[in-house]
Symmetry: C2
Subunit: 210 residues, 2 copies
DNA sequence: CCTAGTTGTAATCAAATGAATACAAGCACA
DNA sequence: TGTGCTTGTATTCATTTGATTACAACTAGG
C-alpha cells in the first residue's frame, strides 16, 4: 500500500501517459465534452502541463484521434497478416482482432467521437480521411470486397455504439440488451461482457496503482 | 425581398420551431458542442427565450432527443404497416422509410449523438432506453428476427455515421467515398446524395424564407 | 558542489456560456 | 379605451475553461 510518489519522467514518456489518458477521456466524453482539466486529472498531471505539452486542446485531440485511427489500422493489418490456424478465415481473424480493440476501448470510442465531427472545420477533414483510410486498409490490404468491408464496418459501428452506450453493463439486467449483444457478438459475447464489467470507466484509474 | 418581420406566435407554435432548430443544431454539434445561443440563432429567437421556454439546456436536449427517437419509431411502424405494392418486402419498405429520415437528417444525427452519451448520468439511461426501444419496435412490431434487426441497425449506424461525416458531399470528388456510399445505399444512392448536397447545414436556414 | 537545463506546478486571466432578472411590446377582452 | 396576460428581449451574473506566466524542484555534467 505504499503511496507511489509521483515521479519525474522523461518528457517523451510522460507524453505517452497523457495520450493514453486522453484516449480514455475523449472516448468517454467526446471532444467538446472533454476539459483539459479532466485529461490532466486522468493522467495525473496539472492542467497547465497538458496544454503546454500539446499546445492546445485541439492539437491534443488531433494527435489522440490520429493515433487511434492508426492503431485500428495496425490491428487490422496484423490480423490479416497473422498465420494462425490456416483454416481460420480472414473475417474470423478480424473479429478476434476487434475484441482486442474492445479491451482498449478508448481507441474505438475516440474514433467514434471523431466520426461525429464531420461539420468541424479542422476535424471534419481528419474524420473523413480517417474513416476512408480504414476502409482502404480493409479493402486493399486485408483483401475484403467492398461489400464485405461495408458489412464489417457496419457491424463495427453497431458494436462501438453499444460499447459507448454501456450496454454490456446492463446486459444481464435487461433481457433485450443481452439478446442483441449476443446476436451481434456471438461467441465473443461473454468475453466482451467480462471485459466491460471490469473496465474502469474513469481515467483516474491510471493514477491508482491497480 | 420584403423583410419578413419576426411575428409574435402562440407559445406552442414557437416551441415547435425551437425544437426543430434544436434538432438541426444538436444533430450537427452534439450536446456538449451546442450552445443555447446557437439554437436561439437557428430558431430566430433570443437565447434567453430558449432557456426560459425549456428550463435548461439539459431539458431542451432531453426533449429534442426524445422526440427524435419517437419520430424514428413512428416512421418504422408506419413503414411496416403501409400496404404498398404487395410484393415489396418489409426490409424494402423500411429502407425507403429510412431515406425519408435521411431527408430530415437532424433527427438521425441527434439520436446518433444521444447514443454517444452512455456515460452521462442523465442522458445515459435515456440513450440506452431509446436504443433498446427502437430495437423492440423492429423486432416486436415490424416483425424482424433479432438477426434481421441487428443487420438493419448496423447498416443504419453506418449510414448515420457517413451522413455525419458528410461523405455524400465529397462522394463525387473522392472515389472511395462514392464506392462505399453506393455499396451501402444501392439504389437510393443518387437520391441521398442529392438530398445531401442541397441540405442546408446551418440551422440559420430556418430564418431565411427559402 | 553547483549550475544549467528539464520537468512540473500554482496562480491568474480573458473569453465563453448557461442562467436569471427586469423590462418592453403586442393581444384579448371588459 | 385600457388593463391584464402573453410573448419576447436586453442586460447582467457567476461559473467554467483553455491558455499564459512566473516560479519551484529535480537531475545531469563539469
Amino acid at each position: 500500500m505504499t503511496e507511489t510518489r509521483s515521479q519525474r519522467l522523461p518528457a517523451a514518456e510522460r507524453r505517452e501517459l497523457m495520450l493514453d489518458a486522453a484516449s480514455i477521456v475523449f472516448g468517454e466524453r467526446g471532444y467538446a465534452g472533454t476539459t483539459t482539466d479532466a485529461v490532466a486529472a486522468a493522467a495525473g498531471v496539472s492542467q497547465a502541463y497538458i496544454v503546454r505539452t500539446f499546445g492546445s486542446k485541439e492539437a491534443l485531440f488531433a494527435e489522440t484521434a490520429s493515433r487511434a485511427v492508426s492503431r485500428i489500422k495496425a490491428v487490422f493489418r496484423q490480423a490479416a497478416a497473422s498465420e494462425s490456424a490456416a483454416e481460420e478465415s480472414v473475417e474470423e481473424r478480424l473479429g478476434r482482432a476487434y475484441v482486442d480493440l474492445v479491451a482498449d476501448r478508448g481507441i474505438l470510442l475516440t474514433v467514434m467521437h471523431l466520426l461525429t465531427l464531420g461539420h468541424h472545420d479542422k476535424f471534419g477533414p481528419l474524420a473523413r480521411e480517417g474513416f476512408l483510410s480504414i476502409y482502404r486498409v480493409l479493402r486493399d490490404e486485408v483483401g475484403l470486397t467492398p461489400q464485405e468491408a461495408e458489412a464489417f464496418l457496419a457491424k463495427g459501428m453497431l458494436i462501438n455504439t453499444m460499447l459507448g452506450l454501456r450496454l454490456p453493463d446492463i446486459a444481464t439486467a435487461q433481457a433485450d440488451a443481452g439478446e442483441l449483444l449476443t446476436c451481434v457478438l456471438e461467441g465473443a459475447t461473454d468475453e466482451v461482457v467480462a471485459l466491460s464489467t471490469k473496465y474502469q470507466p474513469l481515467g483516474q484509474a491510471i493514477r491508482r496503482g491497480d
